[in-house]
Amino acid sequence: MSAPPALPRWADVGLIPLINVLAALIVSGVVVTIIGENPFEAMMVMIKGAFVYKGSLGYTLYYATNFIFTGLAVAVAFHAMLFNIGGEGQAYLGGLGAGLVCLMFDSMLPALVLIPLAIMASAGFGAIWGAIPGYLQAKRGSHIVITTIMFNFLAASIMVWLLAGRLKAPGQMSPETRSFSPNAELPFIHDIANALGMEMARSPLNLSFVVALLACVGVWILIWRSRLGYAIRATGHSAGAAQYAGIPVSTIIIITMAISGGLAGMMAINEILGVQHRTILGFTSGYGFTGIAVALMGRNHPVGIVLASLLFGALYQGGAELDFEFSTITREMVLLIQGLIILFSGGLAYMFNRPLAHFLGFLLTPRHAGGGRRG
């Protein structure tokens, strides 16, 4: 039971996530084989579906946009050692915020005012939906995991109630708002490209992707280059030390959860302002939960989150292709892979760490004979 040598950082950040994905794919492959299909064929279909077919890359990036937002949301909270599994509900309410702004002002305001306002509303609504569980954790001691789960369901109930009631477009059956006027629409990337004279296939990829990348930069600066980020990390690593340092721990928890919820809420701009152009029922489709997998894989770092989002974007887009190519495997396969990735990179995180650390220790020791720490 001797302690294994610590895993080098490059292995922890680079190798472990790859091994986790590989393990998830192998297990899924076994399932596919049991079902009676060829897993490599399925894999090829997914890769083609995600990258090769016309417009597929756009779809992949469109999905990735959602995951960047929800992944960042989970990561920011993780830095304060808070487990926000309420991204789903926060994104949902973000859609309400964006929707309300568009419904109220889309006939009055120009796009340049309306869209930023709608983005702020989505972030704001998400922030409130994150900050309340944050407040309950900080001031009332409620467990944030349980509260955020409950808030997911509360958000869903509120949205069903509103979309099937007050917000429902008159004279329409389906539970959704009316379509917004065109000045509430974020431009599609293919439209921008075409306008610039570049040929690009149609896809739902829109300007939100750029907003998502900006959010990554913002989160990086926040966490590692700002006083607030220092306070967030200090609170996360050691509440005792934060208290000793005079960092207002409760306030930091609430602020962190607001930022986290705001990021999740901004996922709505991709779906609502970018693609649907109205607020619809269930547009979050579990992307909030996928954010947990993304943050775990991406090691809570914006760069890692972008890479993990691309992976999940490809999985979602490639998975959709499975529906067309096979009669027996469907896009639910992706849920399976996602569940396995969360399992391997979160719950079973230490399964590969220890053996790998021993293995690497074995590989690396002879070259640095007697290599203890310096000093």
């Binding site: 039971m1 001797s2 980020g229 220092y230 690593h237 005792g240 208290q243 000793y244 340092a245 720490r373």
Partner: protein, 531 residues
């Protein structure tokens, strides 16, 4: 070494309850136990003494099956055995009273005693049996505890009794006590010793782990000394002296003398009046604490740990708001109605070296540079507005590492990778470098190597000489006596007396720490007159 072991054997005929030979145990790079030998005579009270980190706790954890040794042999009652887990140890008649009690707080005494040793599937049947055994045990040894009380509502001394009862209930004939008096008042300690003597009468073998010389001298028959993971001596208690043991413990003559010139106290920096702190469930931690600290003096606070010293530091540093009373830093008054916080007090020139550096003083995964601004991340000299500049942080850290001889001098190294002494120096460097008016220091040398102790003590004296007021809380009486200009004594949340540096001696402080001065209404002056 051989003479010593022969000595421990005493009359070579006396049977051994425990014999350890060549026990080794490492944690990563740390060799916690190195070829440890030990012979414990049956029916004796055998002490193991050593400084913090000498490897005592590791050794008894191996004996109780918490850790597996990397090598070596264990014999119990003359038979070589393997102890893989606590169940094995219990089966061999070994019981343990842990430093941190192993009691389920919301269980009754009875439930705690029978846990893991219920005897039958149904609790009712077990409970009846356990109750009878408990009654018998309490008669035999004077170990009375109400068996239906919820454990968390019992005072610490009684909780410890429950631990002892637990071990006896499991049929322990060999009882290990790991630092049992750290949480006890002197009276409770005396009661514990009475119990231990009664147990010895009945033939129970006792292994007492402690770092307190006084206890070894008071109660043990034999004593073994550990240092740096090794056994350095086995002695008969009657044939040794505290001085000899102390020298063995630290490996050289104990010299905690610092170059201490008389203080030149100036104007008051801190004035506390009637500070009280009561928790929500009605426990008084601080009762009417009043004290004054002046520029250029070190005031030591002596006391058994857990008598309110930690809470006093928490209140004065702004971490906790007092329930009533006030204190004044310079011209700023802090009261319950106008509370303060650590950030504000730092701005007023109050620095704080916390008692527990791992929990508060540094953040282990942070780089040294980041730990070096803990508490000061909001002050402007470390920042540009809202932002932090890593290069500035590292430069600042490198400068301080140079000034305080912190090794290795690598600002980007994680704080966890520094030794205890160097971590403490990081904290000290951070707190001293701001030229504070008032420095609150808790246990400045806990778990710190000798070289660093000397360095830290010199720094504190130098800071005093520059005019800083220092409040020093320590459970090490030697430290208090060698550094302080005045000594305050705390007991049960109260200040029970004050002594000037020159009139303090260990005996008198001990009496006051036991609360005798306060209980008998003896005032400080009377005590002075008496001495």
């Amino acid at each position: 070494m051989t003479d010593a072991s022969q000595m421990a054997n005493g009359g070579s005929t006396s049977p051994l309850a425990i014999e350890l030979s060549a026990i080794n145990k490492s944690f990563g790079d740390v060799h916690a136990n190195r070829d440890v030998n030990l012979k414990v005579v049956s029916g004796h009270i055998h002490g193991i003494i050593g400084e913090n980190g000498a490897g005592k706790s590791t050794l008894v954890s191996i004996l109780y099956g918490f850790y597996a040794a990397d090598g070596g042999l264990i014999s119990v009652n003359g038979q070589i055995t393997t102890i893989r887990n606590s169940a094995d140890a219990i089966g061999k008649g070994i019981g343990m009273v842990h430093q941190h009690f192993m009691l389920v707080p919301n269980f009754t005494v009875l439930e705690n005693v029978m846990l893991g040793h219920e005897g039958s599937l149904s609790i009712e049947a077990s409970a009846q049996k356990a109750r009878n055994v408990l009654n018998k045990l309490s008669e035999d040894f004077g170990l009375t505890v109400d068996s239906d009380m919820i454990v968390e509502n019992l005072p610490v001394g009684l909780q410890q009794r429950v631990e002892i009862l637990k071990a006896l209930f499991r049929g322990a004939e060999i009882l290990i006590l790991d630092e049992p008096t750290g949480v006890l008042t002197p009276q409770e300690t005396e009661q514990l010793f009475d119990i231990l003597r009664a147990l010895r009468e009945q033939g129970v073998t006792i292994l007492l782990i402690t770092h307190k010389l006084k206890e070894i001298m008071a109660i043990t028959d034999d004593v073994s000394v550990m240092r740096d993971g090794e056994m350095v001596a086995h002695l008969k208690t009657a044939q040794t002296s505290p001085a000899e043991l102390a020298e063995l413990m630290v490996g050289r003559k104990v010299l905690l003398e610092v170059d201490h010139t008389p203080a030149k106290p100036g104007v008051p920096v801190l004035q506390a009046e009637n500070l009280c702190l009561t928790t929500a469930n009605g426990i008084d931690h601080l009762k009417d604490i009043s004290l004054t600290l002046r520029e250029g003096e070190i005031v030591g606070v002596a006391g058994v740990s857990g008598n309110g010293q930690s809470e006093l530091l928490d209140v004065l540093s702004g971490i906790t708001t007092p329930t009533s009373g006030s204190f004044r830093v310079g011209t700023n008054e802090i009261t319950t109605q106008r509370p303060s916080d650590p950030a504000q007090l730092r701005r007023l020139g109050v620095a704080h070296v916390p008692e527990d550096r791992h929990k508060c003083g540094i953040i282990l995964p942070f780089s040294a540079a980041e730990s070096m601004i803990l508490g000061y991340s909001g002050t402007d000299e470390q920042n540009q507005g809202w932002w932090l500049s890593p290069s500035a942080l590292e430069q600042n850290c490198a400068d301080r590492m140079h000034g305080f001889d912190i090794r290795p001098p690598l600002p980007s190294l994680a704080s966890a990778n520094f030794s205890g002494g160097n971590q403490q120096k990081i904290v000290l460097a951070r707190e001293i470098s701001t030229q504070p008016k008032l420095l609150l220091v808790g246990q400045p040398t806990r778990g710190v190597d000798i070289g660093a102790i000397e360095f830290i003590h010199k720094q504190l004296i130098a800071l005093r000489n520059e005019g800083c007021a220092i409040l020093l809380v320590s459970v090490e009486l030697d430290e208090i006596m060698s550094l302080s200009d005045r000594i305050l004594v705390m007991n049960n949340g109260q200040m029970v007396g004050e002594l000037a540096r020159e009139e303090a001696d260990e005996q008198q402080l001990g009496l006051m720490m036991a609360g005798i001065g306060a209980e008998d209404g003896i005032t400080t002056s009377q005590m002075r007159a008496g001495s």
